[in-house]
């Protein structure tokens, strides 16, 4: 076997090993997960993790972003528990009728303490954007 082939094989082996090693690490948060922590921790509860994938299976974007008026920018919506209990924002569905009610605090306030508000998740794009 020529030296060139040996090097090429070694290179290929390294690439395959690297690919498997990378694949063995679980991805970070799911793409488009949003953490809301403007007030949560100050009020003594865990930050909220809002998963777009979970909601998207059940509702089209337009339900929250058109009918309910959620602005499409992380941090642009001032969500207060009082409003949710009044049936606004998340409370439109989280009312023990369409989805679990606002009394099930832990189900939404399930985030890791110390997280900053914003969009999280792997599988790109985490560019310079202001999401």
């Amino acid at each position: 076997m020529s030296r060139k082939t040996m090097t090429r094989r070694r290179l290929i082996r390294i690439c395959v090993t690297l690919a498997f090693a990378l694949a063995a690490f679980p991805a970070p948060a799911e793409y488009a997960d949003v953490v809301l922590n403007k007030r949560s921790e100050k009020e003594g509860v865990r930050p909220v993790v809002f998963s777009h994938w979970f909601h998207r299976i059940r509702f089209r974007c337009k339900v929250c972003h058109f009918e309910l008026g959620f602005k499409m920018r992380a941090g642009a919506n001032d969500v207060l528990m009082a409003d949710i209990i009044d049936g606004k924002f998340c409370g439109m569905c989280h009312n023990n009728n369409i989805a679990w009610g606002a009394d099930r605090c832990d189900l939404c306030h399930s985030g890791r303490p110390g997280l900053k508000s914003g969009i999280y998740g792997g599988h790109q794009t985490l560019g310079p954007g202001r999401w």
Binding site: P28, H52, V63, R130
Partner: protein, 179 residues
């Protein structure tokens, strides 16, 4: 002999690549290890795991590794379109070609998949004017989270998936020209 060995390696690599693309790369972190959920939260016993929901949906690279438009088109999911009974659910089928004079492939913007998910009012008129040619689009703005980048790059497929928008090849003569 040598070329046969190389061809074999190339074939094995292709197979490995296909396996990686089909199986190994489609991985979803368990909620307890995803870095945003508190592993001590009692919710983790009750919340749905991404793998359980997403592994059954049509695969694609990037984002949640799910082709969300195909998921609806194939009837795999049928998310609710409205909460208020009086809301008009609007669907538009027309395509718009963009970037006609650029150097990258032409962009075909399809209204159908967008209106399957969104209402006209989510983009018009504050993000995009409805008149063709009236919008000055820029990748730079999109990368900053403006224009298409309000969603693409944050919640819908990421901006690294160039060919999914830049999908129409330009006519041959334009290629091969000296720069």
């Amino acid at each position: 002999m040598l070329s046969r060995a190389l061809r074999l390696i190339a074939m094995l690599l292709l197979i490995a690549d296909a396996v990686l693309a089909a199986e190994v790369v489609r991985r979803w972190a368990p909620l307890a290890q995803d870095g945003v959920h508190d592993p001590k939260s009692p919710a983790l016993k009750l919340l749905q795991e991404p793998r359980e929901a997403l592994s059954a949906l049509p695969p694609v690279a990037g984002g949640n590794q799910v082709d969300w438009v195909q998921a609806i088109e194939q009837g795999r999911i049928n998310p609710r379109t409205n909460i208020f009974p009086e809301t008009r659910v609007r669907l538009l089928e027309s395509d718009v070609l963009l970037n006609l004079r650029g150097s990258t492939p032409i962009v075909r913007f399809p209204h159908r998949p967008h209106t399957l998910w969104l209402d006209c009012g989510n983009c018009h008129e504050h993000l995009f004017k409805s008149r063709a040619g009236a919008n000055k689009l820029s990748m730079d703005a999109m990368l900053q989270g403006e224009q298409c980048g309000v969603c693409h790059g944050a919640v819908s497929f990421p901006l690294t998936e160039c060919n999914r928008c830049h999908s129409v090849p330009r006519a041959k003569p334009a290629q091969g020209k000296a720069r």
